[in-house]
């Protein structure tokens, strides 16, 4: 396809390319929409659980008489519903579609992906119920009971396998930078998950090693899977939406390979102040600081690609969500690197500051990019346009302002909390713990308000998604990806 864009294509070439693209979209429609539907469901479930947990932080008596909804269960259930339900399902749908598009190959035997989706979501459903029922392992990010893990693995195998089979059968010889990110994510996740579950549950290690492996997994699961898919999606969506190649492909490749080299080392910065050997923590700090290289390369690249096209943020929902996510990626990554410094971590550790950072990364960056991907991909699969631009605006502004409010409240509150916990007060004596707790209430109120804003946005998003899948509203005009009318008249409509 590289050669095709260097000269003026003939009508036949245009027609053939459009037919190929429509056929690829058609082949991925059912499995990708299945992943996306499951993702939207879990997004709502996870958000409701989040709000319950958030309210309990400033109103402990809220739903306190129902053991299933006590904070110790709701909070991990929120994390797992969002992580295994929303984040992974949206990742799977996006990576399958992107890999098919970039490989220029139709998806074969999509039923295998449906089996993968069924098993993955069955495992997630059982896991969340078990956590709410009080059977959590209490290991963060891996709260599901041990016997749920094989179900998730069984669900993941066909998803990874089918994605790699598409890559093997690709008709496009060049591996675009997005594919590098997808392939990396496909390989890194089983490495992380198998090592962590084996050494934490099946043949458990003890003590410091346990914590080290846990945070090697916890940190890398975020960066080496979610961030990877998010960055890869950005590298596809921004150039496609604005119709301009990425500013510097060199920077894109440097970003990927330096990301692959450095990110894996950073996990132990979660254990600063813990009983780890100092050198091990220092390795994590150095790895975190080295992340300035890939993050800076990616940020510069995205920005320079967008230069001259920022006006399109007014009109394209995909671009608006994606660019917002890309900007937050830069901010949250730089913040994370600085947070790994011992001097900073001394204040921020065990405070709301860390919670704010986690939400900035996984929501402000990754989730917003996934929203952008949904807005781009779903109409191309359903053949139907989004029902209401107003609802999309509601979705964007409630979620964007909501996450910024949450981040601001938790960052400011968390920093003050950390200062009070780590240093003496004005009178030279330690600040009473309950005074610190009470001082946090206003920030926690703001957190709950932001959660309600985000829930409103998610409801708008879910309504839009359901209406689109049900084909309610306007039909798309013509096949998904046909440009010239002459070709459009000849190419069969893939979905309508």
């Amino acid at each position: 396809m590289i050669a095709a864009v260097q000269s003026v294509p003939t009508p036949n070439e245009v027609q053939e390319a459009a037919r190929e693209r429509a056929a690829i979209d058609d082949s991925t429609r059912i499995p990708v929409l299945t992943f996306f539907a499951a993702a939207v469901f879990w997004l709502l479930v996870g958000t409701i659980l989040a709000i319950i947990a958030s309210i309990k932080l400033h109103m402990p008596e809220f739903l306190a008489d129902w053991s299933w909804l006590t904070f110790g269960r709701v909070r991990p259930a929120h994390l797992d519903a969002v992580a295994f339900g929303w984040l992974f399902n949206s990742c799977f749908g996006t990576l399958v579609w992107l890999m098919a598009r970039l490989s220029r190959v139709e998806l074969r035997n999509p039923a295998m992906l449906l089996i993968g989706a069924a098993l993955w979501n069955l495992g997630t459903l059982i896991g969340v119920i078990m956590v709410l029922a009080g059977f959590s392992t209490s290991v963060e990010w891996l709260e599901f009971p041990r016997w749920v893990q094989p179900i998730l693995v069984a669900g993941y195998v066909p998803i990874a396998l089918w994605t790699m089979l598409m890559f093997r059968d690709r008709r496009e010889p060049h591996v675009y930078v997005t594919q590098w990110y997808i392939i990396g994510a496909i390989f890194w996740l089983p490495w992380l998950y198998l090592v962590a579950t084996t050494l934490l549950f099946w043949f458990p290690v003890r003590g410091v090693t346990h914590a080290t492996i846990l945070w090697w997994f916890g940190h890398n699961a975020i960066g080496l899977f979610f961030s990877t898919i998010g960055i890869g999606a950005i590298y596809y969506l921004i150039p496609k939406v604005i119709g301009r190649p990425v500013h510097s492909y060199y920077l894109g490749l440097i970003g990927f390979w330096s990301f692959a080299i450095f990110y894996n080392w950073a996990g132990t910065h979660h254990l600063i102040g813990g009983p780890l050997p100092a050198w091990l923590v220092t390795v994590g700090v150095i790895g975190s600081m080295m992340m300035f290289i890939p993050v800076g390369a990616t940020a510069i690249n995205h920005h320079l690609t967008m230069v001259g096209h920022f006006g399109k943020l007014r009109t394209s929902p995909t671009l608006r969500f994606t660019v917002f996510g890309a900007m937050i990626y830069t901010a949250s990554s730089f913040q994370g690197s600085l947070e790994s410094l011992r001097e900073v971590n001394r204040v921020t550790h065990f405070t709301h500051f860390t919670v704010g950072h986690a939400h900035l990364g996984l929501y402000g960056f990754f989730t917003m990019v996934m929203f952008g991907a949904f807005y781009y991909i779903v109409p191309r699969l359903t053949g139907w346009e989004w029902y209401s631009s107003r609802l999309i605006r509601v979705h964007f502004w409630t979620t964007a302002l909501g996450i910024l409010l949450m981040f601001g409240a938790l960052t400011i509150g968390g920093w003050l909390q950390g200062v009070d916990l780590a240093y003496p007060g004005p009178d030279g004596k330690p600040v009473p713990f309950m005074e610190i707790v009470a001082a946090m209430k206003k920030y926690l109120h703001l957190r709950s308000i932001s959660g309600v804003m985000i829930l409103a946005g998610h409801i708008a998003f879910a309504v839009l998604f359901v209406l689109n899948v049900l084909r309610y509203g306007r039909q798309r005009v013509g096949p998904t990806l046909l440009a010239p009318e002459s070709a459009a008249e000849q190419v069969p409509v893939a979905v309508s």
């Binding site: 396809m1 060049h174 894109g252 399109k312 394209s316 013509g478 998904t480 440009a483 010239p484």
Partner: protein, 91 residues
């Protein structure tokens, strides 16, 4: 700890080896050659460079009066480029 060493060393060998192999394969097959040209690989004859593909969402932000036309619109999203009319966006 024997199992731990086996798991750690085994996975490092397998996955680390896979990463090295991927890098070697990429160099060998010219994936790092001509990067500016390869950046265009996501475009094609039906979605060429210069054609935005998602820019016609908000009707209220477009000019109030537009001529009705049926021929392709330059630099408009391919999704609707061939047949956009005023009525298409009124809901």
């Amino acid at each position: 700890m024997t199992v731990g060493y086996v798991v750690l060393l085994g996975t490092v060998t397998v996955f680390g080896g896979a990463a090295l192999f991927a890098f070697w394969w990429a160099v060998k097959t010219g994936q790092f050659d001509h990067p500016d040209q390869q950046a265009t690989s996501i475009f094609g004859p039906d979605e060429p460079i210069g054609m935005p593909t998602d820019d016609v969402l908000y009707p209220s932000e477009r000019p109030a009066v537009r001529p009705r036309r049926t021929e392709p619109l330059p630099l408009l999203g391919s999704r609707f480029a061939h047949r956009i009319t005023e009525g298409d966006w009124e809901s």
